[in-house]
């Protein structure tokens, strides 16, 4: 089956793809921490955090439409949280955004900041995933002595999520082929529950086979990648620019 993998662009070739996975992961982690730590009422600053990942996505030749689609998929979850701020904090304030300003409430300010921070983090993570192979990321985590069990879990999750999607798709197809009319809700629910159960059982079975195939080829819990890691001048340049960018954001954040 052909999946619309979130990392389907990770196999492209671009200056960003060629950067060392360690440099990209370190910068992404620091940038994400910075975004989380930004002042709670700083929507303009949160919007500035979009710039860095956006440049990486453009240089990495990742279609912005693809990125936007994934962010929109996840956005409702954070919007539910962000919109609740509107009810809790109705203190009047003036919102400044670059040369613009308007009157609103602190709740709106918080809502905007939270949403902008979320989009900023999503952009940073998407830029990382779309320009770095997952097996390379696992290798980096291993080299950084992240607990082995966590690295194995991540590796299996990456593989089995697609097994689950495949099974769900096949089961849905089989159901659609034999659906001639809509049944009473209670019956539909019963069938739905049976389908979910069947998908999980089948996925478990397939996962067992995949594990066997991996073990048969010598997998003992250590992930290996055929790619070699070398910090090159381009990686130093990337890290220097990222440090300047993060430093500037920190400086701006300290002025709040």
């Amino acid at each position: 089956m052909h999946h619309a993998h979130i990392d389907k662009f990770a196999y492209q070739d671009s200056p960003i793809h060629r950067l060392d996975a360690r440099a990209k992961l370190a910068v992404t982690l620091i940038a994400t921490l910075l975004i989380v730590a930004l002042p709670r009422f700083s929507p303009d600053l949160a919007f500035y955090t979009w710039l860095g990942p956006f440049v990486l996505l453009v240089l990495g030749r990742i279609p912005i439409q693809f990125v936007a689609k994934h962010i929109l998929w996840a956005l409702p979850f954070i919007l539910v949280l962000a919109l609740t701020s509107l009810w809790y904090d109705r203190t009047e304030t003036t919102i400044l955004f670059g040369p613009f300003q308007w009157h609103s409430t602190m709740g709106w300010l918080k809502c905007l900041t939270l949403t902008a921070k979320f989009v900023g983090s999503m952009l940073a993570l998407t830029a990382l995933i779309c320009t770095t192979r997952f097996s390379d990321l696992l290798m980096v985590l291993q080299r950084w002595h992240v607990p082995e069990i966590l690295v194995i879990q991540l590796g299996f999750l990456y593989r089995y999520i697609f097994v689950l999607i495949d099974k769900a798709h096949h089961t849905k197809q089989a159901r659609t082929l034999r659906t001639l009319k809509r049944l009473p809700t209670k019956q539909e629910l019963r069938i739905g529950a049976a389908m979910i159960g069947s998908v999980l059982v089948q996925s478990l079975d397939t996962s067992t086979h995949i594990t066997q195939a991996m073990q048969a080829r010598g997998f003992t819990g250590q992930w290996h990648s055929p790619r070699q890691f070398h910090i090159k001048p381009a990686d130093w340049l990337f890290m220097a620019i990222a440090t300047l960018y993060i430093g500037l954001l920190l400086h701006l954040g300290s002025m709040y």
Binding site: H2, H5, A213, Q215, R217, G218, H224
Partner: protein, 237 residues
């Protein structure tokens, strides 16, 4: 040294259903052995037992190494197994990485890994597909790729479970040619009698978890009474 030696091996599924019942057999290096039998006869369980995935009573010895947890790592460098469904066998994002998976786990050097991957891909005729995602290959190509994942580890014994499944006649003939060209010891489970007859040095008929007959393809597969008793057809000679 005997390639595979199985003595009095019995295995039950977790729900208690017997899969293999006191199976004994011995396979010599370089033999091409075809396991034939109806569905549910125990062929796949027998292959899994050889690879150490079916723990039962009795003994399974691969090139002098008893199949125990301690020896599994060494055994898996000697015996490569191809599962029934190639989609289970191909789990990495690109064909190159999938075929390099085994050699990487063996701790080979980068140069040797690349050489082995290239050689395995060339052997199965997929050299131009190295950087394709495996799930974008056709059924025949996936089957060939699954075999390449094992060939890259250069095992001396290869087990294949229903390798001809869902292949069109042309791909089946290509696979037959490929398997005939391999010098390794091959143990292949199949329900396709023509495929088995074309390949086999030796045929083992399995039914109800037991070995019913063991001999040359000529002796066993032309015995109408024997074949029909076990729900099998005669090959089209």
């Amino acid at each position: 040294m005997t390639a595979i030696d199985i003595k009095d091996f019995s295995f039950h599924y977790p729900d208690g259903t017997p899969a293999l019942n006191r199976v004994s057999l011995s396979i010599e290096p370089g033999e091409k052995v075809l396991l034939i039998g109806p569905n549910g006869a125990g062929k796949s369980s027998l292959l899994l037992a050889m690879a150490g995935f079916a723990q039962g009573t009795g003994s399974v010895v691969v090139e002098g190494l008893k199949v125990t947890k301690k020896n599994l790592k060494a055994i898996r460098q000697v015996l490569g197994c191809c599962l029934e469904n190639p989609d289970d066998q191909l789990f990495m994002p690109t064909l190159f990485e999938d075929i390099a998976f085994g050699p990487l786990n063996m701790g080979l050097s980068q140069a040797e890994i690349e050489q082995r991957v290239t050689q395995a891909l060339t052997t199965v005729g997929l050299a131009d597909k190295a950087h394709k995602p495996p799930h974008h290959l056709s059924a025949g190509q996936k089957r060939a790729a699954a075999i390449a994942t094992v060939l890259s580890m250069a095992p001396r014994i290869i087990t294949l479970d229903e390798p001809d499944g869902s292949l069109d006649p042309r791909r089946r003939i290509e696979l037959q040619t490929l398997l005939k060209s391999l010098t390794q010891t091959l143990v292949i489970a199949t329900c396709n009698m023509n495929f088995a007859y074309a390949l086999a040095d030796r045929v083992i008929l399995v039914d109800h978890g037991q070995i019913v007959a063991d001999g040359t393809a000529q002796t066993i597969m032309t015995d109408r009474a024997l074949m029909e008793t076990h729900g099998l057809e005669l090959p089209a000679l």
